[in-house]
C-alpha cells in the first residue's frame, strides 16, 4: 500500500494506492490521524487506485471521522472500485460518509 497526499483549496486529498488489509492498515491509521489533527479537517479520500479494503481499514475511517467531529470536519470518498463499493453497500457506509464518483462531485461536498 502507498499513500500520497496533496492540498487543494484547503482540502487534503489522500490517494490510497494498493491494498489495505490487516498488515497495512496501521500505516493508514497513523497517516490519517496525523492529517485529522489539523483543522479545518476537510479530507477527500481518493479510492480510484485502491484495490482492496479490509474491515481494519474501514475501522480507521470511523476513527478519523470521530476525530474530525471537533472541527466539524468532513470525510468524503471518491471513486471506489466495484468490490469496495459492494462492501460499502453491505455495511451501509453511505449513511455515514459521502461517496462520490468523480472529483467535481467530491469537491462540492465540502
Amino acid at each position: 500500500m502507498r499513500i500520497s497526499t496533496e492540498d487543494y483549496q484547503g482540502i487534503k486529498i489522500i490517494s490510497l494506492i494498493g491494498k489495505i488489509d490487516s498488515s497495512t492498515y496501521r500505516e493508514l491509521e497513523s497517516e490519517m490521524l496525523r492529517i485529522a489533527e489539523q483543522p479545518p479537517g476537510k479530507i477527500l479520500v481518493d479510492c480510484s487506485q485502491l484495490e482492496f479494503l479490509s474491515s481494519s481499514g474501514i475501522r480507521v475511517f470511523y476513527l478519523v471521522a470521530k476525530k474530525l467531529e471537533k472541527f466539524n470536519g468532513k470525510l468524503v470518498f471518491m471513486n471506489p472500485n466495484e468490490n469496495i463499493l459492494r462492501v460499502f453497500e453491505i455495511i451501509d457506509f453511505s449513511s455515514d460518509f459521502s461517496i462520490q464518483n468523480d472529483l467535481a462531485g467530491a469537491l462540492k461536498e465540502f
Binding site: S55, S56, I90
Partner: protein, 670 residues
C-alpha cells in the same frame, strides 16, 4: 616429494658422469705430468753424468798431451845429438827407443813407438816388441794400429780408444791413446791411459741416480695406488716397488698371452696415450687378472730406459666415487632435513587447524564448550598466521552467536509464554462457541453445522446457535473488524451480549424474538464508549422450526446464500445497515422468509470471499456460489468442509489472511 628425489637422482647421475670424466682426465694428466717430470729429471741426471765423464776424459787427454810433449822433447834431444854429430843417427835412434820404453807415469802407464810398417819398435811388452802389429785386432775386432796410422797420417796427431791388456793383466780394458807422428824419423809415437776408471765412476754414479729415483718413486703416488717404474731396454727392471733388479724379458701378460715388456715398449711409441691392460691386484686378488690398469710409457733413448706409470682404473675412480658418495649423502641429508621441516611445519599448521576443527565439532555437539575456549583464545593471540586469524574470527563469530542465542532464548521464552497464553485464550474462545450438534437431527426438523478457522491463535469471527424456546432456533454469525487478541476480546463481549439480549427477549416477549431488536440492543452496548471504533458485522436469525419461517436481520454482514433443493441459489435480501459498534440508537430491519423442504442456508464471513491466492486474486462471491450450487444435497458439515477445503486450496502457499466462520443449516420439515 618424489619429484624432488627424481630430480636429485638425475642431477647426481649427470654430475657423476661429468665428475668421472673430469677426474679421469685430471688423474691421467697428472700421471703424464709426473712421467714427464721424471723424464726431465732423468735427463738432467744423465747430462750431469755425461758431463762428469767428459770432464774426466778431458783430464786424461790433457795429461796425455803433457806427457806426450815431454816424450817428444826427449826424442828431440837424441835427434839434436845426432844433428850435432855427437852420436850417429842410428845410435840416437836406438838410445831414444830404449829410453822411451823405460818411461812410466801415473798407473804404470807407458809409451810405444811404431814405424810406418806398424812394427813395434819400442814397447815395454817384450811379447810385442819388434812384432808387426798391422793386423792386430782388439776384442771388438778393430784394427787398432791401422786406425791410429790413419789418424796420424791425416791429422799428425789424434786420440783413439781401443781395448787392450793392462801391463801384467789378462783382462782387456778400454784404453784411451794419444798418438803423434814424429816426422824426423817417421815414427808413430803413442801413449795411453786405461779409462775404465771413468766407466767405473760412471756406473757408480748411475747406480746412485737409480737409487735416488727409487727413493723418489717411493714417495710418488698417482691417484690412490698408482706408481712409477723404470726398466731398461735389456728388459731389466731398474726401479719398481717390488720387482727391482728382476729380468722381465720373459714376463707374460696372463690375460693376453703376450710379452708384457714388449707391449710396454710398443706403448712407449705413443707416450701421450695410456696403454690399457688387465692385471691382478695383490695382495687381495693375486690370481685374478681382471683389473683394468693404465700405463703411460716413455722412452729415454740415451740410457735406453723405459719410464712408465702404472695405475688401477678403479683406484683412479676412488676419489670420484668418494665425491659421489659424499654428494649422495649431502643430498640425502638435505632431503631428510626438508622432510623433517615439512613435517614440523605442517604439524604446526595442522595441529592448530585440528584444534580449531575439534573446537568447532565440540560446539556443534555440546553447544559452547568453555573448557577449550581459553586454549582457542591463546591460539588466536599467539599464532600470527591464517589459522590464528581464522581462530580469532571464529571466536568473534562464536561470541556473537553466543549472545544471539542467549537473546533468542529470552525472546523465545517470552514468545513461548505469549503463545501458551494465546493457546489458553484460544481454548477459552472456543469454549464460548456452542457445542456441535448431532449431524442428523431430523427429529427436530433440521440439520446444522458450524465451523471456524482463525488466521491466528484467536480470532474475531463468531457464530452461535441455541434454542431459546422449544421449536425455536436462534443463530448468528459475525465478523469483528481486525484480527488477533483485540478482535477476540471484542468477539467475546459481542457473543455474551448477544446471548443476554436473546434470553432477555425470550423471557419478556414470551418467546417472540425479533432479530432487529437483538441487534439494536447489542449495538447500543458495544457503541458505548467505543473510542477505537472497533465494530462487528453480524447476521442473526430466528427459525420457527414447526412453521418453517425464518426471521432475520443483518448489521453490515455479507448476505447468506439460500440453496434450494433444485440447486437454485439466492442471496438473502437484506436492508442496508451499519455494523454494530459505531453509533448508538441505530435501527436495524427485520426480514422474513418462508423455508421450503431441504432448503440449505449458508452463512459465512468475508474471510471466504476475500481470501487471496498467490496471483493476488480474491476468492469472490461468484466462485463461492458456483461451488455451493453443486453441494445442494450434501450434509451441512460436508458443505462447510468443501468450502473450507476450497478456500484453503485457493490460498495455497500463503498465510491465511483473515478469520473464517461458516454456518450451514438445512430445513427438514417433520
Amino acid at each position: 616429494m618424489s619429484l624432488l628425489i627424481i630430480l636429485s637422482v638425475i642431477f647426481m647421475f649427470m654430475t657423476q658422469l661429468q665428475v668421472k670424466h673430469v677426474m679421469l682426465g685430471t688423474t691421467r694428466n697428472s700421471a703424464r705430468d709426473i712421467l714427464h717430470l721424471v723424464k726431465l729429471d732423468v735427463e738432467n741426471q744423465y747430462h750431469s753424468l755425461q758431463y762428469h765423464r767428459e770432464y774426466a776424459l778431458s783430464r786424461y787427454k790433457i795429461q796425455l798431451l803433457n806427457v806426450m810433449s815431454l816424450a817428444l822433447s826427449h826424442l828431440d834431444n837424441f835427434y839434436d845429438l845426432a844433428e850435432r854429430g855427437i852420436i850417429t843417427e842410428d845410435q840416437a835412434r836406438q838410445e831414444a827407443l830404449k829410453s822411451v820404453s823405460r818411461f812410466r807415469y801415473e798407473n804404470n802407464d807407458y809409451f810405444y813407438i811404431y814405424d810406418q810398417n806398424l812394427k813395434a819398435i819400442s814397447h815395454p811388452d817384450t811379447a810385442l816388441l819388434n812384432h808387426n802389429m798391422a793386423d792386430y785386432q782388439d776384442i771388438h775386432g778393430n784394427y787398432v794400429l791401422q786406425e791410429i796410422k790413419q789418424i796420424v797420417s791425416t791429422s799428425g796427431s789424434g786420440f783413439s780408444d781401443f781395448w787392450h791388456f793392462r801391463l801384467g793383466e789378462d783382462e782387456p780394458v778400454q784404453k784411451l791413446s794419444y798418438n803423434v807422428l814424429y816426422p824426423k824419423w817417421n815414427w808413430i809415437v803413442g801413449t795411453g791411459v786405461y779409462i775404465h776408471d771413468i766407466d767405473k765412476d760412471y756406473d757408480k754414479k748411475l747406480q746412485e741416480v737409480i737409487d735416488e729415483l727409487k727413493y723418489l718413486f717411493s714417495e710418488i703416488r698417482i691417484g690412490e695406488t698408482g706408481y712409477l717404474f723404470i726398466f731398461s731396454g735389456e728388459n731389466k727392471m731398474l726401479v719398481h716397488p717390488d720387482m727391482a733388479g728382476e729380468d722381465i724379458s720373459m714376463n707374460i701378460n696372463p690375460a693376453t698371452g703376450t710379452l708384457h715388456s714388449a707391449d710396454l715398449i710398443l706403448a712407449s711409441q705413443t707416450p701421450e696415450i695410456p696403454y690399457a691392460y688387465f692385471w691382478n691386484k695383490p695382495p687381495r686378488y693375486p690370481d685374478l687378472y681382471k683389473f683394468k690398469k693404465e700405463s703411460f710409457v716413455d722412452y729415454f733413448q740415451p740410457l735406453n730406459w723405459y719410464i712408465a706409470s702404472s695405475m688401477y682404473q678403479d683406484d683412479m675412480m676412488k676419489p670420484i666415487n668418494r665425491i659421489i658418495v659424499n654428494q649422495i649423502l649431502a643430498a640425502l641429508l638435505i632431503l631428510i632435513i626438508c622432510l623433517i621441516a615439512v613435517y614440523f611445519i605442517s604439524r604446526h599448521f595442522t595441529r592448530n587447524l585440528a584444534d580449531l576443527t575439534n573446537h568447532v565439532r565440540n560446539m556443534s555437539t555440546e553447544g559452547f564448550p568453555e573448557q577449550d575456549r581459553d586454549h582457542m583464545q591463546q591460539l588466536a593471540f599467539r599464532v600470527h598466521d591464517e589459522i590464528g586469524e581464522l581462530t580469532d574470527s571464529f571466536l568473534n563469530m562464536e561470541n556473537a552467536l553466543h549472545d544471539y542465542i542467549r537473546d533468542l532464548k529470552v525472546k523465545t521464552a517470552q514468545n513461548e509464554k505469549i503463545r501458551s497464553e494465546l493457546n489458553i485464550a484460544r481454548n477459552i474462545q472456543l469454549s464460548l462457541l456452542p457445542r456441535e450438534l448431532p449431524e442428523s437431527d431430523e427429529a427436530r426438523g433440521f440439520q446444522l453445522n458450524a465451523a471456524m478457522r482463525s488466521a491466528r491463535e484467536v480470532g474475531g469471527d463468531l457464530y452461535d446457535y441455541f434454542f431459546p424456546a422449544p421449536g425455536i432456533l436462534f443463530f448468528a454469525i459475525g465478523d469483528v473488524s481486525d484480527k488477533g487478541v483485540p478482535a477476540a476480546l471484542f468477539m467475546a463481549r459481542c457473543i455474551s451480549l448477544l446471548r443476554a439480549a436473546v434470553r432477555t427477549q425470550s423471557r419478556e416477549e414470551s418467546c417472540l424474538i425479533k432479530p432487529d431488536r437483538v441487534l439494536t440492543e447489542v449495538n447500543d452496548e458495544l457503541a458505548r464508549d467505543n473510542e477505537i471504533c472497533m465494530f462487528v458485522t453480524l447476521f442473526c436469525g430466528v427459525i420457527d422450526l414447526d412453521r418453517g419461517v425464518l426471521n432475520y436481520a443483518s448489521a453490515g454482514h455479507n448476505p447468506p446464500c439460500l440453496i434450494r433443493k433444485t440447486g437454485e441459489i439466492l442471496m438473502l435480501d437484506q436492508a442496508r445497515s451499519s455494523p454494530l459498534g459505531w453509533k448508538q440508537n441505530n435501527d436495524y430491519s427485520n426480514l422474513s422468509l418462508d423455508l421450503q423442504q431441504e432448503d440449505l442456508l449458508f452463512c459465512y464471513t468475508d474471510g471466504v470471499v476475500e481470501a487471496l491466492n498467490q496471483a493476488g486474486e480474491f476468492y469472490t462471491e461468484d466462485k463461492l456460489v458456483s461451488l455451493l450450487s453443486g453441494l445442494n444435497t450434501r450434509y451441512p458439515a460436508e458443505v462447510n468442509k468443501a468450502v473450507l477445503d476450497s478456500v484453503l486450496e485457493f490460498q495455497t502457499g500463503l498465510e491465511q489472511s483473515d478469520d473464517i466462520a461458516l454456518l450451514c443449516f438445512r430445513y427438514k420439515k417433520k
